[in-house]
Structures are given as C-alpha cells and as structure tokens.
C-alpha cells in the first residue's frame, strides 16, 4: 500500500507497521505518562494551583523552570542548524533535520509548560484582545509562537526540498535571530524585574544564551547517538566529535559568565548585602545541593571531558559529558528561580519550595508528549538529511553545498 502524502511530505505508515514490540512498549510508556498527567491536570484545575508546591514567596516553580529549560534546548537545536546554513558548518549536515525537529518539539513543550502555570488558562486569549506592549511576558509569548511557526516552515522546506537551499538559507536568516531572540526575551522576563536583585543583571541574556546552546547541543548529540543506535540513522562519529568541540567552548563561556556573576557579587568592594545573601543561599545555603554540583560535577567536569581530545573523541565519554550538561542546565534553571525567590523582596519570608506529586506528574506528561511527538516524527517523516536528487542538485547550483552529506555518511559507515 502506498504511503499517504500530505502536502508533499510522505508519511511513512509502512515503517510503523514494521515496528518491533519494543517500539510499541516505548510508545505506550509515554502514553501512560500522558494519561496520568491529564488526570493530574484535572486535579489542578479543580483545586487550583494549591496542589503544587508553589506559594506567594515562590510563585514560579517547576513549570517555569521547564519552560526556560525547553526554550534553551530549542534555541540550541536551531543554532546548530543555523551554523550549517550561515557559517558553512557542513559537517553537521546529516543531523540538520533532527536539529530543527528538536527545536520545534522543545519549543512546543516550552509553550505547553506555560499552560499549567497560569491560574485561568482559558483567559489567555487576552494576549491578543488586550495586549500590553510594555510587558516582557507579552513579547515572550509573541516571539515564542512566531518561532514555533518558523520551525515548522523550516522543517517543511527541508523535508520537501521545495525552494532548495536558497530558500533554506533565507529562512535561516529569519529563524536564527528568532531563536536567539526567543531566548533573549525569556531572559528579560527575569532580568527586567528590577526588584529581584540577582536577576536584574544585563548578563542574564548572554548567560541564558550560553546555557541554551550548551544544553541544546548536548541534547542534540545525545539524540543523534540514540537515533544512530535505535533508528539506524547514518550519523558519522566525526560529526559528534566536532559538535563536542563546539559544546566545550560553549560550556566554557557559560562557566565564565557564572564566574563573573559570582565575583561581582562577592568581591569585597563590590559586595552588597542583598546580592550576597541571595547568592549565598545557592553556594552554602539550602540551595547549595543543586547549585554546587551544577558548578562542579555538571559544569567543570563535562568541560574537562570535552577539553581533552582523548575524552572528547570517544563516544561514551562524550555522551557522559552531554548527559551531565543536560542535567546541569536543568538544575541551573532551578537555581535561577531560587536566586530570585530564595529571599523574598520583603525579607526572609518562608520561601522553601518542593514540587508536589501532581506537579511532577504534569511535568512528566509534557515531557512524555514531547518524546512521543519526536518518536513519531522520526518514524513517519524522512528525518535523515541525505539530500534527495533534486535537493542535492539545487544545492550545488546555489553554491551552498560542496560535498553532499551522503558522501560524509558513506564515509562514516565505513568507520563504524
């Protein structure tokens, strides 16, 4: 039976029919998580956000932490793709579609994490009917949705090959600034809050971007490795190693920014009690158990793993570094919230926060949805970036592509 064709995109139903029981076990695990999350969300709608661990002194928690984390993962994915288009990083060509798919799915999840966080979500239409252009949140919602659409268009153009590389290039000229922009504006939600001393720092946006790139590239490497193993996708080792090199640089920049922030806070002539008390919570206070590992085990250690060629150019050490970074940036997002809320703006109100079971269930459900969408997209859509005949010729016509990715892949298969 022929596969259905949706607006020029072949949906490979036959692939689904060939799937192993393991695949269905994988899928149903996440469907179950999704159902549990649905129940938890009904519970939250019925009883209010009191079912979460949030309170007035700690008003944003796990949901917003995830929102910021996924915006980062998304931006990281798209920046990798953009580097192919804009900076001629042709080595990354085989993973281009995966990178854009990651950008799309992560961005979708980021948007979804806003929904359980807001008290009365069905009133959100007012973002359109009654917008406030001075509010950072309004701009964040705008650019988030714009970027989501751009990701879909990017992906569509890549898969169908319509418009060729020339269109891909032009689209990247829009979606790259959007990817940077979505993260910058997300950082501004925090850094434009002039009342929260540690957030109100111009370094926040660059710090967000470096963390975004670090976590995004690390996740991309992990997804690539998983797809190579499970989906038999042809991805060369060398590409991973080069991505690892980029990742190492980004992690260094990220740690440097943190270092600058810590120095500014604690160096005696620069020290102010408001800053020092709050950052102190993260370094030796109740949040140290998240933040100190973030700096060491999940920060410095992966950096050194990526620094030395011996460990960088080995699949398992590279993967270890990536796992550490992906976890580390997640912890860092929590540290970021704790930085703002740990001591209330009006003194030491009780600001302890621990996510509750419904909150974790809803979070897990949204993660599960993302994994499901990603799995299905990889299964049903042509995600391997081996250029089709038409695509390849157009590419060389436009002069953006010298070596077809297929050649790289062929080379890689001989290595593996």
């Amino acid at each position: 039976m022929a596969n259905p064709n949706l607006a020029g995109v072949e949906i490979r139903i036959d692939e689904l029919k060939k799937s192993t029981p393991w695949f269905w076990a994988w899928v149903s695990t996440f469907v179950i998580l999704l159902v549990i999350a649905g129940y938890a969300y009904v519970l939250q709608l019925r009883n209010g956000l009191a079912v979460t661990g949030l309170h007035d002194a700690f008003p944003w928690g796990l949901y917003i932490q995830n929102f910021m984390y996924f915006v980062g993962l998304s931006a990281g994915g798209l920046v990798t793709y953009a580097s192919i288009q804009l900076f001629g990083a042709k080595k990354f060509e085989p993973i281009a579609r995966i990178a854009v798919l990651q950008a799309f799915v992560c961005n979708l999840l980021a948007a979804l994490f806003i929904i359980p966080d807001i008290g009365i979500p069905w009133r959100a239409y007012q973002f359109i009917t009654s917008p406030n252009p001075q509010a950072t949140l309004f701009w964040d919602a705008t650019i988030l949705n714009l970027y989501l659409v751009l990701c879909v268009i990017d992906l569509y153009v890549m898969i169908t090959g319509k418009g060729g590389h020339s269109l891909e290039f032009k689209l990247t000229l829009i979606s790259f600034p959007a990817a940077v922009g979505v993260h910058t504006v997300t950082a501004w939600i925090l850094s434009f809050a002039k009342t929260r001393e540690l957030w109100h720092s111009a370094l926040m946006a660059p710090l967000f971007l470096s963390s975004a790139m670090a976590s995004g590239i690390a996740l991309l490497i992990l997804i690539g490795m998983a797809l190579r193993y499970f989906a038999k996708m042809k991805l060369p080792d060398d590409m991973f190693f080069t991505l690892g090199k980029v990742l190492g640089t980004v992690v260094f920049v990220d740690l440097f920014f943190l270092f600058v922030e810590i120095m500014t806070t604690f160096w005696p002539p620069s020290r102010t009690p408001g800053h020092a008390t709050r950052l102190g919570l993260l370094l030796w206070g109740p949040y140290a158990k998240f933040f100190v590992p973030e700096l060491t085990v999940f920060g410095a250690l992966p950096f050194f793993l990526l620094l030395f060629p011996k460990t960088r150019r080995k699949v398992w050490t590279l993967a270890t570094a990536c796992v550490l970074i992906v976890i580390g940036i997640f912890l860092k997002r929590f540290a970021l919230l704790a930085m703002g809320f740990g001591v209330s703006v009006l003194g030491p109100f009780d600001a302890s926060y621990l996510p509750t079971v419904p909150e974790v269930a809803i979070t897990a459900g949204i993660w599960a949805l993302g994994i499901l969408i990603f799995t299905m997209a990889v299964k049903l859509l042509p995600m391997e970036s081996a250029p089709h005949g038409e695509n390849a010729t157009q590419a060389s016509d436009n002069g953006h592509e010298d070596v077809p990715a297929a050649a790289l892949q062929a080379e890689a298969t001989t290595h593996v």
Binding site: D56, G119, Q134, T277
Partner: protein
C-alpha cells in the same frame, strides 16, 4: 470633600486645629500640594514650596489611565490622589490592621496571605534581609515595626508587567486589579518590590456570617492575583478612611487625599521631618509615606 473626615475624634481636636491652621497657609491651592510634597520628599529639607497648578500626577509622571472604571467600585473622583502616611514611631506591630483587613476585604481565611505584612527590625536599621516577618508578640521596645502593603505606586511595576492589562492605575491613584481579566500568570508578583500581591492558590474560604456583603468587595475566584485596594469600596463611597486606618489603636496610620492641603496626610507630609518611602530608589513612586 470626599476625603475630609466627618467624625472628629476626641483628643485629636487640638491637633486637627493646628493642622487646619497650618493648612490655611497653602489653602485653596489644592492642585499644588502634591508637587510640593514630592519636592519635600526629594530634598527632605522642607525648602520653599512651589505653588504650581499641575495635574494629579505631578511632575514627570504621565501614566496612561484606563478610562473605564473598574466594574466593582464607583468611578474615581476628580482632584483626588489617595495616599497613606504611616508613623513608624507610633506603630507597635500589633497586626490589628492586618487582621481587620482580612475580614474587611473577604480574604480567604485559609488562603495563606494577608494584604498587610509587618516587619520587625532592629532599631536604627532598615535592612529587609534581616527583618523578621514572623514575630509573635510585637511591642518590643528595642525593635521597630514597619507595616507594608500595596503602595499604589505612581509608576507601578505590576501594571507595566501585566501582559493582559488586568491591573491598572486609576485617576485617583489607585492601582486596581480586574478579577475578570486576570489570567493568573503572576508576572506582577514577580515584579512587585513590596511582596504586596497575592495569588489565590485555592478557593477562598470565609465563614458565612463573616462575609463582607458589600458588592464592591467581590470574593475572588481561584487563580487570580489580588492585593490591597486602599479599601476602594469605602473611599469611593464617601468614607475617607481605610479599615486599617480605622482600627489602628495608636493611630499610626493616616489616610487621605494629598491634593487637599487641609487633609491630615498633606499636613503630616509637610510638617514631619523624618520621612521615607520604601524602595523609592527603584523609581516606583510609592504612595505610602513612612514618618518617624
């Protein structure tokens, strides 16, 4: 005028007479009062008082007011700018204001917040990081007490940061919350420097016989943000006194229209020397003045 207190309190008459006499020196220039007091607040030296006729916002504050009145209260009166003066020398930290406010404003008894917070601080220090919001007794002579609530800022970060314009500034200076528009994103809580905004994490629970049946005090739904209204249901209804002002046993709180030079608040701002506004360095232009 709506704000001049009808009921004279025994023991306060001589003071009021004095204030009235002082008020006559600038009497009749209602609109000039606020620029003067802001000049006073800035210089803290009580220099020559400029008598200019400016709008209710005074110098440098041009805030776009929403023309629609909030649906649950009467529209804002003209030539009025509400402000509160809190005498921290008098305040003993008994929290009567905070509790009276809870019952006056239909705050859920189980909701975990009050509009008014009281901070106990070491004498001679204004250091919020080391303040104690959880003291039990109050009245400690070695400490001082600072009540904090919504400051109804002239440049309110909450209004600037509400993505859907569910909170806004009205012409009489009140920052009001529209419970029908609020989506509960809590961006205002993130941005408020005074911890004055509170979210209804759960359905407010109030014993039936304790509910304030005034229709201008709606019981809020779950999932919206609320805050001190300066008792909008009272002050827009001719009573120039908030509940917290009324119950304060030491009369540490004064409330009124600063544009009326005869009002108690205008007088206090003119005559009291030690005066600060909490976190005014953030540019929020708060409308609660602390005097000592």
């Amino acid at each position: 005028m709506a704000n001049s207190s009808e009921k004279e309190r025994a023991g306060d008459v001589s003071r009021r007479d004095f204030l009235k006499a002082a008020g006559l020196t600038v009497g009749g220039i209602a609109l000039g009062a606020f620029p003067m007091l802001s000049a006073f607040a800035a210089e803290e030296n009580g220099g020559p008082l400029a008598e200019t006729a400016e709008g209710p916002q005074g110098e440098g504050h041009e805030f776009a007011f929403d023309p629609n009145p909030v649906y649950y209260a009467k529209p804002a009166p003209a030539h009025t700018k509400w402000a509160m003066v809190i005498d921290v020398k008098a305040c003993v930290g008994c929290r009567k204001c905070a509790w009276a406010c809870v019952s006056e404003n239909n705050i859920g008894r189980d909701s975990g917040f009050t509009y008014i917070q009281l901070l106990e601080m070491e004498a001679g220090k204004i250091e919020l990081e080391t303040a104690n919001p959880y003291y039990t007794e109050g009245g400690d002579p070695g400490k001082w007490y600072m009540p904090v609530q919504c400051m109804h800022c002239d440049d309110p970060p909450c209004v600037l940061n509400c993505p859907v314009r569910a909170t806004r500034k009205e012409a009489d200076g009140l920052v009001i919350q529209d419970y029908r528009k609020c989506i509960g994103c809590r961006a205002c809580m993130i941005n408020c420097p005074y911890h004055a905004r509170h979210f209804n994490w759960k359905k407010p629970v109030i014993p039936a016989k304790e509910i304030n049946r005034n229709p201008a005090v709606p019981i809020r739904p779950t999932g919206v943000v609320e805050k001190c209204t300066f008792c909008i249901h009272r002050i827009r209804d001719g009573k120039a006194e908030t509940r917290c002002t009324e119950v304060c046993p030491v009369r540490a709180r004064k409330f009124g229209n600063v544009l009326d030079p005869k009002s108690e608040v205008a007088q206090m701002l003119k005559n009291r020397r030690l005066l600060f506004r909490l976190k005014e360095e953030l540019g929020t232009e708060p409308n609660i003045y602390y005097v000592g």
